[in-house]
């Protein structure tokens, strides 16, 4: 027993592992800090890696330890997350070794920004995080739930925390998918203080789950003196969740969208998931309806076949036609296709602009009826055109009207 508590391991090593590291700690009685560093970047960063490790031991007041570090080019935020994960196994420290928040990670989000694409990243894979932002997804989801093996959950929290502080996501909305409650509530402690914009709540099927998350976030915000809003995006992944969609959608002011998760939902329904997704048509339309009624965005599930770009394109088109305003991605190459499909086409924008011009002209002249050419335009059509024009302006596709 005593032996076990003296030894800890964390991280990953192996021929295919890159930008990560594996650490093994052994507490010793004496001899100080001994570091055995095996790193592919030893000649370039060897001494700074050793310095970082020494700083971490000093921070946690560990004086005598043997560290074996196998490094495949991990950045400092990863090394320190791995080392901290190991330290926590052998010491009951309440402290966190938190890296600096880089300036470019301090940007805020806003409630009604568009969320066409959100790229899922496994929360325990540092390699995939590094360049995620350069692919320009609207949002980046650091996932603590399904993509993290149960044994790695604690490590992943630290890695995600450090990534939120040090990895530049180049303006993407910063999202984290927490675990199902109650573990998800513990996850919040590691993300809320670090400028997370949106918290995704998996397998949501009642208002109480939202309330629990909301309360915990509010406590953490108070504790850390955070004024910025943290938004919520519940994910509906069960038949019950679908039935409760509107209640959930309107459960909190901080909810900006509902997402649907078709993998779990089809399992719950006992049906086979197809690319055409007719088996979940009811669930999806119901979810869209609930979102519109609650005044929030409806976000569609990911398209799982990353090799089938044409299938994805068809899928997004249908998704948009049903009223969804965004979709999850599991591969960066899906992003541009999703954008292409959700972004209004030039023809759509042109038509919308014509309608708006006619509307303004009619208003100026005090006319009660709006017409484009000889065609009468109803007010709902104007409203829709206005949405399209506003979206196009926001996307920088057309200039703002003075």
């Amino acid at each position: 027993m005593g032996q076990q508590q003296n030894i800890a391991e964390a991280g990953n090593a192996g021929p295919k592992v890159r930008s990560d590291c594996y650490v093994r700690l052994e507490l010793t009685e004496k001899g100080g800090v001994l570091i055995d560093l095996d790193s592919k970047v030893k000649s370039l960063y060897g001494s700074s890696i050793e310095q970082l490790c020494s700083n971490i031991f000093e921070f946690f007041r560990i004086d005598n330890v043997k560290l074996t570090l196998k490094d495949s080019g991990a950045l400092p935020f990863t090394i320190s997350a791995r080392l901290e994960a190991a330290v926590r196994q052998i010491s009951d420290t309440g402290k966190e070794f938190i890296p600096d928040m880089t300036d470019e990670n301090k940007y805020p989000s806003e409630r009604d920004r568009f969320r066409f694409s959100r790229l899922y990243l496994p929360g325990n894979n540092p390699k995939m995080m590094l360049n995620a932002g350069v692919h320009n997804p609207d949002g980046i989801i650091l996932d603590l739930e399904d993509s993290v093996a149960p044994a790695k959950k604690k490590e992943a929290r630290l890695l995600v925390r450090n990534a939120l502080r040090q990895v530049n996501f180049y303006g993407s909305e910063r999202m984290v998918r927490i675990n199902q409650l109650p573990d998800g509530l513990e996850d919040l402690k590691y993300i809320i203080p670090h400028n997370v914009h949106v918290v995704l709540i998996p397998k949501c099927e009642n208002v109480s789950q939202i309330k629990q998350v909301e309360t915990e976030i509010s406590n953490l915000k108070k504790k850390h003196e955070i004024r910025q809003e943290v938004f919520l995006m519940p994910i509906i992944e069960t038949a019950l969740g679908v039935e409760k969609a509107f209640e959930i959608a309107s459960a909190s002011e901080t909810i900006v969208a509902l997402a649907i998760g078709l993998e779990d939902l089809t399992a719950d329904l006992g049906v086979i998931r197809t690319n055409e997704a007719t088996e979940t048509l009811y669930a999806r339309t119901r979810l869209v309806n609930a979102c519109k009624a609650a005044g929030i965005q409806a976000i569609d599930s990911v398209f799982a076949d990353v090799g089938d770009m044409e299938g994805l394109r068809q899928n997004v088109k249908i998704s948009r036609s049903l009223g969804f305003e965004g979709m999850g991605c599991i591969h960066p190459r899906q992003i541009s296709i999703i954008h292409d499909c959700f972004v209004p086409s030039k023809e759509e924008i042109k038509k919308a602009q014509e309608i708006m011009d006619a509307f303004y002209e009619a208003r100026e002249k005090g006319l009660g009826v709006v017409a484009v050419g000889s065609k009468m335009i109803d007010l709902p059509v104007v409203k829709r055109a206005e949405k399209t024009v506003n979206l196009a302006i926001k996307l920088g596709m057309i200039p703002e009207k003075p």
Binding site: S19, S43, L44, S48, S72, L75, N131, V134, H331
Partner: protein, 518 residues
């Protein structure tokens, strides 16, 4: 090892005045080195010394080597048409070892990981040193200072130049060919070991003292087309197997699936589109390597959409380029190295798919070459520095890991673009100063990274065309800063004073040295 006298060359690099005991000329700058004199003259031969029936067949490679007079200290050349599937070079040195020959200079057009087998011969003295690319295990061996002589790294064009100018006198050239006849005519087009062309062996056939053609597909005279002319050949040998076909297909000829590299390719193609490089009648160099291939695919898309045709594509051919030729998007492929069987098939069938050699494409000491006529070359690099100087042979840790290939020669194309990641794992690619200088910055026009595109300030024309572009145009200094911000400022690799290899420029002058890693 005696202390070598070093001088600073025009690139500011300290280089020796002698390599392996022979005087060399330090690099003087791009286009600054004038040459006089005559080319190397091989011995005159006469028909009466060769079989009147044209049958130059000898029983075994060993017999041929004996007849060719293989002895201590000779220079023996081989070629890399079989790439990592080459079975010939290893056999050749197995025989040399059997014969008890020592201190050979191996002069390959390139080496591959399969040649790790030869390290034992470098250790025990059959091979004295290598002049040619040293990849993988051979590079590591050399970088650790274990090779007896100093390695010399040349571009494909520089290799032709060195042979032509008499800098390297080849005693025995051993040319592996997928198809040959007993007279010595040979090509790479037909047979189990088909490689397409044999261009890298051209200089050797023309200038070597003795030439041995080895094939596993002997056909009756005439073997046509004769990419290698039998009139240069002393002996023909038939063996069971020259190459491993699976490995002849280069591993670097699949389009990348890495989203980061695809992004680089997309940005590069967009850059070429916006700057008007992609226009009717243009030409491009297409390299091997996943990113270059992906650039080709984006080129294809743009060309199809806009109805643009290219006059020619130069470089290694593969199924992607062949499809462009067959769809009429390019008029000609000027092929320097055939990377897959589609390329081999196309070259055999299609008059527009033309085999070239380092003489036509790359040789700097000729009356022009094709590489200089190309509108845009998309190349790789292990490092680029803030002066646009680039490295392709070592990594930042100092280890020799790659050959120069045609890279230096392609720098003479009208626009040179390097799509490279800003960093690999934690290793910055855009750096203060390259570890080894392989290409002078004045010839490198654009660096495309996933975090921004830097245009060489010398290319004001390109910068002018990019005004108002959506592309993330930045400066090379900013890219370097960003790399350091992400990875941290690297320490300098630690080197010993021992020079383990030199990098030659295309004109035969010494551009830089590679030192032993400490």
């Amino acid at each position: 090892m005696p202390e070598t006298k070093l001088v600073k060359n025009a690139a500011g690099r300290s280089v020796p005045l002698k390599i392996n005991g022979k005087p060399v000329i330090p690099y003087k700058g791009v286009g600054k080195h004038n040459v006089t004199g005559t080319k190397h003259g091989p011995k005159i031969n006469t028909c009466k010394d060769f079989p009147s029936d044209g049958n130059k067949l000898v029983g075994t490679l060993k017999e041929a080597l004996k007849k060719a007079g293989l002895k201590d200290g000779m220079t023996v050349s081989t070629h890399h048409h079989f790439r990592n599937g080459d079975l010939l070079a290893n056999q050749l040195f197995d025989i040399a070892k059997e014969m008890g020959v020592k201190d050979l200079r191996w002069f390959p057009s390139a080496s591959f990981p399969c040649h790790e087998h030869l390290i034992q011969y470098l250790e025990e003295g059959t091979i004295h040193h290598i002049e040619g690319s040293m990849n993988g295990a051979l590079g590591r061996f050399a970088s650790q200072g274990k090779m007896k002589g100093v390695g010399v790294l040349r571009s494909h064009g520089g290799r032709y130049q060195a042979v032509q100018d008499g800098e390297v006198k080849i005693d025995i050239a051993v040319i592996g060919a997928a198809c040959a006849d007993p007279f010595g005519n040979a090509n790479g087009l037909y047979g189990d070991s088909a490689t397409g062309l044999l261009g890298f062996a051209l200089a050797d056939s023309q200038y070597a003292d003795k030439v041995i053609v080895v094939t596993d597909n002997m056909v009756p005279f005439p073997c046509v087309p004769w990419q290698i002319q039998g009139n240069y050949v002393d002996y023909a040998v038939e063996i069971d197997k020259l190459g491993d076909p699976d490995k002849i297909i280069s591993g670097t000829t699949k389009i990348t699936k890495s989203p980061d590299r695809v992004l680089l390719a997309e940005m590069t193609a967009q850059f070429c589109d916006e700057t008007g490089i992609i226009r009717n009648g243009f030409s491009f160099q297409s390299g091997a390597g996943g990113t270059s291939l992906a650039v080709g695919e984006y080129f294809k898309k743009i060309m199809q959409e806009k109805g643009i045709k290219a006059r020619f594509a130069r470089g290694g051919s593969n199924k992607y380029l062949v499809s462009m030729l067959e769809e009429g998007l390019v008029d000609y492929i000027l092929d320097g190295q055939t990377f897959d069987l589609e390329g081999v098939r196309s070259m055999a069938e299609n008059q527009g798919h033309v085999w070239t050699s380092p003489f036509t494409s790359y040789n700097y000491h000729g009356k022009g070459n094709f590489a200089g006529l190309v509108d845009v070359a998309i190349l790789g690099a292990t490092e680029v520095d803030v002066n646009f100087n680039a490295n392709v042979v070592t990594h930042s840790d100092g280890y020799l890991l790659h050959g120069i290939g045609g890279w230096q020669n392609c720098l003479f194309s009208k626009t040179v673009i390097l799509p490279i990641p800003l960093f690999r794992d934690r290793i910055p690619v855009v750096v203060d100063e390259v570890t080894t200088l392989c290409g002078p910055g004045e010839l490198i026009d654009v660096v495309v990274t996933e975090r921004g595109i830097a245009v060489n300030p010398l290319r004001t024309d390109l910068l002018e065309k990019l005004k108002g572009s959506d592309l993330p145009i930045t400066t090379i200094g900013e890219l370097k800063d960003e790399a350091e911000k992400i990875c941290g400022k690297p320490e300098k690799a630690h080197f010993d004073n021992q020079i383990i290899a030199v990098v030659k420029w295309v004109d035969g002058t010494v551009l830089d040295v590679v030192k032993k890693v400490r």
